[in-house]
Subunit: 329 residues, 2 copies
């Protein structure tokens, strides 16, 4: 057992849990491709391998964790159903996982959530319960739903089974790309970064693990520096998936297994998003671009073989296509 401060939770999962999660997910999740780009290699001076979780089901890595958590429920829990709060990728991921397994899913969503997000989640058969756009309303609504219906809570990044599921992306990346000198994952709530760190540490302990976040939401960097979770109060960043602060569990993993945090400005994030669209011809959301931006700007002087996880591709292209329609129709 590793010795930890009293206030740090023990870490009850390791590489075996991630390997088992990978086997469990095999019939359900895509083994997403790994792309490379000559231009990115030239610009960065490294050999970069991009793990395309934007091509995962529901367009984000979140499906891995949500599905793993549902597969690990017992039969009574599956029959009763699950609840979570999210207006983002976790909501759609849990909804699809529930639909595939016949588990009733309830999503608590602020009534200010975009109609398109709500419709996408309902499209996977989930029941939506609206709450006020406050932390208090969200938590009391989730608690009330959970108690009334005996729902199991499946949090986006507080749940060890979700974290283990997220780690399967890095496990695949190591299989597909071969040995890596550096692995980079975005960090918001920390589920993907924690899963990545556990997978990489278990499989390839010499690989440096780096978290990437917006400079405007650099709570993970400040948390690691101070040794205490630093809250993030509604930070202004285009990387909307990375506005959350760390949880105690993800912080415990990140503190132990992550070597550094690298940040990028909003302009750098937008430039990196565009670079990936234009050069790699894949759609990523700005939250994913934080792993590419520091390689383009050489803010991160990574050498050798660098694996990065492109976390998702759910971005609103409405204005772009409205523009095309206005010009052509």
């Amino acid at each position: 057992m590793t010795s930890e401060p009293n206030d740090m939770p023990a870490i009850p999962i390791g590489i075996e849990d991630i390997v088992q999660a990978a086997q469990r997910l095999e019939p359900w999740a895509h083994r997403t491709p790994v792309l490379t780009s000559r231009t990115l290699d030239e610009r960065s001076g490294a050999s970069v391998f991009l793990k395309c979780e934007n091509l995962q089901r529901v367009g984000a890595f979140k499906f891995r964790g949500a599905m793993n958590a549902l597969l690990l429920l017992d039969e009574d829990q599956k029959a009763a159903g699950v609840v979570t709060h999210s207006s983002g990728n976790h909501a759609q991921a849990l909804a699809l996982a529930g639909q595939l397994l016949g588990v009733p899913v309830t999503i608590v969503m602020p009534r200010t959530a975009p109609a398109v997000k709500r419709a996408a989640t309902e499209g996977y058969g989930a029941r939506i319960v609206l709450c006020e756009p406050t932390l208090e309303s969200r938590e009391s609504t989730v608690a009330a739903e959970s108690q009334r219906h005996a729902f199991t809570l499946v949090y986006p990044f507080k749940d060890w089974n979700v974290i283990a599921g997220h780690g399967t992306a890095a496990l695949e990346l190591l299989d597909q790309a071969g040995p890596l000198d550096v692995a980079i994952a975005p960090v918001g709530g920390g589920g993907l970064l924690a899963g990545t760190a556990l997978a990489v540490n278990g499989r390839s302990s010499g690989t440096v693990v780096i978290g990437a976040e917006p400079a405007n939401a650099d709570d993970a960097r400040r948390s690691l520096e101070t040794g205490l979770i630093q809250p993030s109060f509604d930070p202004r960043t285009i990387a909307d998936g990375l506005r959350t602060s760390l949880g105690t569990r993800t912080f415990a993993v990140i503190r132990q297994y992550v070597d550094a945090i690298v940040t990028s400005s909003e302009a750098e994030i937008i430039d990196a998003t565009r670079f990936v669209w234009e050069r790699l011809k894949i759609v990523i959301e700005p939250s994913s671009a934080v792993v590419v931006a520091p390689l383009l700007t050489a803010r991160l002087r990574a050498k050798g073989r660098v694996g990065v996880i492109l976390s998702g591709g759910n971005v609103d292209v409405e204005t772009f296509f409205q523009g095309l329609a206005a010009q052509w129709l």
Copy 2:
């Protein structure tokens, strides 16, 4: 020998040329992935396999034909160099192929071509010669360059070696997806469709081959109906890669080996482009979407296993990212 009308050129290439082109291209071109989409399968009622030539080098299938043509030049021709006219994907494809092989490339481009296209082509080391934006100026400029420097002409779709190179995409698709009931390729000048038809006919003669084009540029449909090449006068379509009319060679192949042409409206093309961006998370240009649109609208009632070639991903996203920057920076 197949009997042909007197005015139709004989077809001097077949499946062997495409197989040889594939071997020749193997060290140079990407073996692009084939993606599938549950939603597209549900919407279309078919099992659709999308060959991602948007992920090809220079972002388009055009690299295959240009590279094959250059690899087949003799040493004197390589030393002297090549010339073509194009302001689109063929220009960049030929420029990159020349750069890789050390063959000097001259591109004749109308002086009205977007600066971004010119810069991209120059970025691959090609020499640009500007002409007036008229057919006469373009042809006389190409002829003058060719004569002055002993350049070999490498046309985008009149050259049999280019057509054979383009056919390698369908050959790979058949290898990757397995047997196909239907194969669909876009048709502008007809190089990709002709190459596809030759490959599919040679490998899998029971597969139905369909060309796809905008209803606003339906010259291929009209040409097949009338048995004569119908010109296309600067048609208004967002599918800018498909505004060209057929050449005599591509028409000869298409007439013999293509079963039908399917057309789509501008609104259908824009919807299909958006569908692929949003659901498959890959960037395609509208010219590519003509193969997806008829499956989404059920205008083509294709059953069984349908292979489609997504021809390219070179689309101007400037306005979209300007919008993001205006909102966030």
